[in-house]
Symmetry: C2
Subunit: 190 residues, 2 copies
DNA sequence: ACACATACGAAACAGGTCGTATCGTATCGT
DNA sequence: ACGATACGATACGACCTGTTTCGTATGTGT
């Protein structure tokens, strides 16, 4: 039995890092369609083999790039639902906030070959964190028991998504506060 | 001088219609990347020439498909801002409401070669209609003069976008009413 | 009737891309 | 030393984009 170590030459993790870095840069510059695996290999100075061994196809590579640039920290728990939702919104914004060129990267999440992996690895998790925030608020009596979790969360998430991916403009924290205040004061019901 | 008629054989408008129809169907089935101009030509029974004469590239073709399926009716003017915004939101939803397979078509709007044409031909126009609704509401005293037009409109538009393109679920009219009510009651300020 | 201008379908083309396969070589554990 | 795997290089088939060329069809102006 001896060891759990894998046999053979180990995968070069530093190479993995460089692949994701270069792919991210090229994705930001040229968009999903303009990104070619061959260019990534060229930029890194490796062969296509190294890339295809790690990711089954281009979509998986791009999904990995996006996930590597996203944070999935613990959901905030300040005791105040407005503060929690504000931090939740901030996290949304940070995860989507890319430099102007890289808006292409963000939009790549809608590619049919990219989205499913991102839903499983990211959106689902984010939703669960939001649900937690709201459930705690209900328990504290800050929100009515029949509040519509998803509508409330999707409104906040949608504002960021629309701004970043359509209009390419970030949102002032003050405006998040206004929208969250409105939604908490008159919450959508089931 | 005589006539304004164009010289030569006139463009076959029925063929144009069939091209957009077939392109829309294939786009819905296979997404943007899975759509090929050659397949469209094959489906229609025409040559690629006929397509490239109408649209300079694949992106323009897809943009034309999306615009052909979108309504840009007059902005509602009921005298009540809540009713106007609800109709505005309904229009958003109708414009994005595609059968499940066709969610691919919707997402194609984020393609770098498609988006610019759609911004000019659609989003900009929709925004102007929303601004009009809000300005009339301010004039009637239903909204404060320092309301933040874009944040209010983007919140409504974002909810639909997030739901349709990320979660693929339509929104009950009742929930639009709730969200709009909250936003009008405590509007985001400048 | 006839010339002209344009649209049409078919086909070939160059350039790029994806993803696979095949080399020989390098680097690990046993 | 040996087996197993990663690595770089290269070639490959299949497909796609967008251009061009050809002969043909269909309109207008004289």
């Amino acid at each position: 039995m001896a060891s759990d170590e894998k046999l053979g030459r180990p995968t070069d993790e530093d190479l993995t890092r460089r692949i994701l870095e270069a792919a991210g840069r090229l994705l930001g510059e040229n968009g999903y369609a303009g990104l070619s695996v061959e260019k990534v290999a060229k930029a890194v100075g490796c062969g296509k083999t190294a890339i295809y061994r790690r990711y089954p196809d281009k979509g998986a590579l791009v999904a990995a790039v996006l996930r590597s640039r996203v944070e999935l920290g613990a959901p905030p728990d300040t005791g105040d639902v407005r503060a929690d939702l504000l931090e939740h919104a901030r996290q949304n914004q940070r995860n989507q906030e890319l430099s102007p060129e890289r808006v292409h990267g963000m939009r790549a999440m809608f590619e049919p070959d990219v989205f499913p992996a991102l839903w499983e690895g990211f959106f689902k998790h984010r939703r669960e964190q939001g649900i937690e925030i709201i459930d705690r608020a209900i328990a504290r009596g800050e929100l009515p028991a029949d509040v519509h979790h998803d509508i409330l969360l999707d409104t906040i998430a949608g504002l960021t998504l629309y701004r970043q991916s359509v209009k390419r403009i970030s949102i002032d924290e003050r405006h998040y506060v206004d929208v969250i205040d409105a939604l908490v004061t008159r919450p959508p019901r089931r």
